[in-house]
Amino acid sequence: MATVKDLQKKIKELEAELEKERREKQNVLRPKISQMSSEVVDSNPYSRLMALKRMGIVDDYEKIREYCVAVVGVGGVGSVTAEMLTRCGIGKLLLFDYDKVELANMNRLFYQPHQSGMSKVEAAEKTLKEINPDVEFEVYNYNITTMDNFTHFMERIKTGGFKSGEPVNLVLSCVDNFEARMTVNTACNELGQNWIESGVSENAVSGHIQFIIPGETSCYACAPPLVVSTKTDEKTLKREGVCAASLPTTMAVVAGFLVQNTLKYLLKFGDVSYYLGYNALQDFFPSMTLRPNPTCDDRHCVNQQHAFQLREKSKPKVEKVEEKEDDVIHEDNPFEIQLVSETTEEELKNSEGFVPDLVQGLKVAYTTPAPSQNSDSGAMVDNTEKSLEELMKEMQTL
């Protein structure tokens, strides 16, 4: 039987434990701050950011509070992206994702095991509001690629800005699949919305960001997806029993590139990158500007290109001095050796379709043939007199 002393000791222990639990549970919530201050005191969450002005990097940092960014996909890259923007004091964030937090996500940053089962946007909103209550949030837990949700998604991009009715300032694509990227591309081409695409390869050792200004730079449908070469032989890439690998490091690097470019664009400092690749194996960072494909498959991209050219024409002209590259002529060539390609350039082009000029270290994931005029050799479906309903019924009764 327990003595009074034992019981008293037990009570003390339990009280201590309860106190600890209570303290852990207590959320330290800071009040909202109406005006960003550059006063350097421990209690000012914006002091180090406002210091960017005094150091002459950013002219008007407070402007960030009037900007609204949509983050599409809040997984390994998107959640970290949203956290960085939240800590920087962005005015408003729109978050889109249909996924739930799972324990399998714990090799990445941001989410915590106790959030398993929650929708990613809901979990993210809660954490981010605790970090910075000044940020306004709009979150949507749905798949943007389906018909119903796409219409709503477009509407939010168009009117969900910091001031209601205005478009968002920038869309950041942090999705993990081709279908969703093409969906963001479709929406932004139609709306003329600037956006930045980001991605990490399925083997986790390369990534990229690509700034897309519809009509001015290459859209995501202008060319097959670009791949950052990592000097690994893709054919020997082992995919036994897995779909994709991921590293928190590569994802954080890409999220860092993405938000850095976002801040440079919104707050107008430094040079904005149009394409920046990351090869983690050799630590190589290819960078370039990609021009749009005049024969892009997306007609809205082509329309945006025409609109951009008109805008450019109306601008006052700046004289350009073109540097001419001299043809290489070898002074001594007694056998008159000439290099001649086996296939004509046109043949090559037709078999590969549009391939953009790329810097070293970049290539297209695959090529698609140029649209051919002559009909295909394969058998096409016949024209049918049957109605859709009749065909549906026929399929059901098979």
Partner: protein
């Protein structure tokens, strides 16, 4: 890249003509009719070659598809529910075929039971826009996936035949 049997059955599926997705109004109806024609032909071909392996139907807009697919292993038939949405970017991007009941049972799957296709599928699809349709996605994507994954799942005893389940 694809085995001979797949190649042969693929070649017998008629190709589609209309490049239209679910946001394209009347053109989508035309495309949808072509999809059904190709699917009907494909099922008939399968029946003729004694290799009938799926049934599929859609909602009336043709944006959501559902049905069944099955795989015969050691004379036993294993059947799975099949479903997928037509993305608004279709047919530029292929539909993401899903077998929800196998979600979490194999690593060759993305969340929600979407099957993980080989590196060859996407380039092949991209090179054949808009000629490839749902029937081609099934033939090139789901067929080979079932042939590899189902025997593996059975061998690892992750899935069992319905008759065995009943005995338990």
């Amino acid at each position: 890249m694809v085995d001979e049997a797949t190649k042969k059955s693929l070649a017998q599926i008629p190709l589609l003509k209309t490049k239209a997705g679910p946001r394209d109004g009347e053109l989508w109806v035309t495309r949808l009719k072509e999809e059904y024609q190709a699917l009907i032909k494909y099922v008939q071909n399968n029946k003729d070659s004694d290799n009938d392996w799926f049934r599929l139907e859609s909602n009336k807009e043709g944006t959501r598809w559902f049905g069944k697919c099955w795989y015969v292993h050691e004379l036993l038939k294993y059947e799975f529910d099949l479903e997928f949405d037509i993305p608004i970017t279709y047919p530029t991007t292929a539909p993401e075929l899903a077998l929800p009941e196998l979600d979490g049972k194999t690593a060759k799957m993305y969340r929600g039971g979407k099957i993980c296709l080989t590196d060859h599928f996407k380039p092949l699809w991209a090179r054949n826009v808009p000629k490839f349709g749902i029937a081609h996605a099934l033939s090139l994507g789901l067929g080979p996936w079932l042939a590899v994954e189902v025997p593996d799942l059975i061998q690892k005893q992750i899935i069992t035949h319905k008759s065995e389940q009943a005995e338990k």
